[in-house]
């Protein structure tokens, strides 16, 4: 019975909800909300990187698209927060849908760089080209309307809401990656030609995955806009891509728990370490190098490896 719950993602949802509630009430609700939103972003990114095996170095584009889509809706159309979230998701899906056909044809280095290049263009559009609409460097400051059951300006309410969102995203991805679709993704990662030989139109699946990834990332961006009450070009800044890449690596690419763990780890490092070590970006760079050369599986991967070894030893002892 327990394995059924585990496989369906129910256990994970419970753990996540509990974990973050404790973290938030124990430390700072406001900060933990930040953590959670970032974790959603990492989850969206890791779908592409860990599960499908494509490193995008420009995912801030989608985070930013969602953030700006939400912000623009609130500023120019209606301040309804849920509609803003919807607009964010749609914004991300749109950008992912349009860029997808160009981008997913590339692999490896080209894939990473193309995403980065588009991110740069997006940043330019937000900062300069459409500055009249987006507020340019200063961005847009926003007020949201209160809706029944969801008062955004109440930190505790919003905190609970983001936990709910995270659980939703986690559950969705858990079902997705455990399904045959998830297996196909991993097949594409390992050997795309073989997947094509079996008869799959891998291009379509890559595109769909790209759109899902961009939508989730945009969702996170929209949540960030709700959280901060403003949006500006830093939400789409290409130099911030290293954050989510680092999180995915340190957590352990390809695993949902790893993504969340990585998100929390990065947030902890950037929030708390930055207080004590002024040049913490150097530290980040060094940590990245360490991860690449020594700890490719990240924290979660290493935990899993140790767990496997222990269970294997135990079963050997039993026989």
């Amino acid at each position: 019975m327990t394995s059924k719950i585990r496989d369906s993602g129910g256990l994970g949802v419970i753990l996540i909800a509990l974990g973050f509630t404790i973290l938030g009430t124990g430390t700072s609700i406001h900060r933990t909300t930040d953590f959670i939103i970032f974790c959603i972003f990492v989850l969206g990114f890791d779908l592409l990187y860990g599960h499908m095996g494509r490193l995008s170095f420009g995912h801030m584009l989608f985070f930013g698209s969602g953030a700006y889509a939400a912000g623009l809706l609130v500023r120019y159309i209606t301040p309804h927060p849920l509609l803003a979230l919807l607009a964010g998701i749609c914004g991300g899906a749109l950008v992912g849908g349009i860029l997808g056909p160009v981008v997913v044809r590339a692999t490896g280095a080209c894939f990473a760089l193309i995403n980065l290049a588009f991110n740069q263009v997006g940043h330019f559009l937000a900062l300069v080209a459409f500055a009249k609409v987006t507020g340019g460097e200063d961005g847009l400051s926003l007020t949201f309307s209160k809706i029944p059951f969801l008062n955004i300006s109440n930190p505790k309410v919003f905190f609970g809401f983001t936990i709910f969102c995270l659980c939703l995203v986690y559950y969705f991805l858990k079902r997705l990656t455990s399904s045959p679709y998830g297996i196909l993704l991993r097949t594409i990662r390992e050997n795309e030609t073989r997947a094509q030989f079996i008869g799959y139109n891998t291009f379509q699946y890559k595109w769909i995955t790209f759109v899902i990834s961009s939508s989730i990332s945009a969702f996170a961006g929209a949540l960030a806009t709700l959280n901060y009450g403003y949006v500006n070009p830093s939400f789409i800044d290409p130099t911030r891509n290293v954050e989510v890449v680092f999180a995915a690596l340190i957590g352990g690419a390809g695993s949902l728990y790893g993504a969340i763990l990585g998100g929390v780890s990065y947030m902890v490092i950037s929030n708390y370490l930055a207080r004590y070590i002024p040049r913490w970006e150097i530290f980040l760079g060094l940590a990245l190098l360490l991860l690449v050369f020594k700890f490719k599986e990240g924290i979660w991967g290493n935990i899993l490896a140790v767990w496997k070894r222990r269970t294997q030893a135990r079963s050997v002892n039993r026989t």
Partner: protein
């Protein structure tokens, strides 16, 4: 229009100088080298640091910058690049990006985050086809064309150049002949890095010197290499000058869009000629 064309050639020349190193490293080691941007930035900042000691002799500053970059690139190659052989390309991107990150932060630490303007070292203009053109830009064009010819001779005529060409094609076969091709690739890396530093110091007076300048130019250089065809030296050469023109002409009509236009070109090229790494 003439001055725009000259400017286009100037930018093209700079892009050529910077991108050749990137193309070589990519072709030889199949590694996307973000650290290239770090070397570029270092060159510019070393120049700024050295100028006061050299009585503002720009030429000497260029030499100092390149000399400093040689051991730096050697260290990067030995401790980072060499370990990335055979690794998945994603790790190469992340690792070299980490080097860039460290470098940028070091620069911010030492020199601060504000951009540092650098004046035109030559300061004189010449009249060319009845237009006044800064002499400095013509010098850059001359340098890049000289380098172009020099590199062409190097790869076509010298045995080391041929080893590298052969190694770019088939690394294992060169090794089976008894030639330690990796040593030559290290040489290529250092050479490419020196070129990046050269590009950095030459471009510094035209643009502004700031900690993220390497990041900036790197993206455009990647676009140059991708448009020219990965690992193709001839392609990189042509696309460098073409994209330089694109930047200059776009910049004339709508300044900030110059870089974005380069990426638009890259996107179009990729639609019609998608590339595998």
């Amino acid at each position: 229009m003439i001055s725009t064309l000259i400017y286009g050639l100037t930018i093209g020349g700079i892009l050529y100088i910077i991108s050749i190193g990137l193309s070589l490293t990519f072709g030889s080691m199949r590694i996307v080298n973000f650290a290239h941007g770090m070397v570029y930035t270092t060159g510019a900042y070393i120049l700024i640091a050295a100028l006061p000691f050299l009585h503002n002799n720009f030429f000497a500053g260029v030499l100092v910058a390149i000399v400093v970059v040689i051991p730096l690139s050697f260290i990067i190659e030995k401790f980072i690049i060499r370990r990335l052989y055979g690794e998945s390309i994603d790790y190469a991107i992340i690792a070299t990006y980490a080097v860039l990150l460290i470098g940028v932060d070091l620069v911010k630490w030492i020199w601060g985050t504000s951009p540092i303007p650098l004046s035109d070292p030559v300061g004189k203009s010449v009249t060319f086809l009845s237009i006044e053109v800064p002499l400095y830009r013509l010098i850059i064009i001359a340098i890049s064309l000289t380098l172009c010819v020099g590199l062409w001779l190097f790869f076509k005529k010298t045995i080391v150049g041929k080893i590298i060409i052969a190694g770019l094609q088939d690394r294992e076969a060169v090794r089976s002949l008894g030639i330690s091709v990796d040593k030559y690739f290290s040489l290529v890396f250092v050479l490419g890095s020196c070129l990046a530093a050269l590009g950095g110091v030459l471009y510094a007076p035209i643009t502004t010197v700031h900690p993220y300048m390497g990041f900036h130019i790197l993206l455009i250089s990647f676009a140059v290499v991708i448009v020219g065809g990965l690992g193709s030296l001839k392609g990189t050469t042509i696309s460098a000058f073409v994209l330089g023109m694109v930047m200059a002409i776009t910049g004339r009509f709508w300044g900030p869009a110059a870089e974005a236009m380069v990426f638009a070109v890259m996107a179009v090229v990729l639609i019609y000629k998608p590339i595998e790494v």
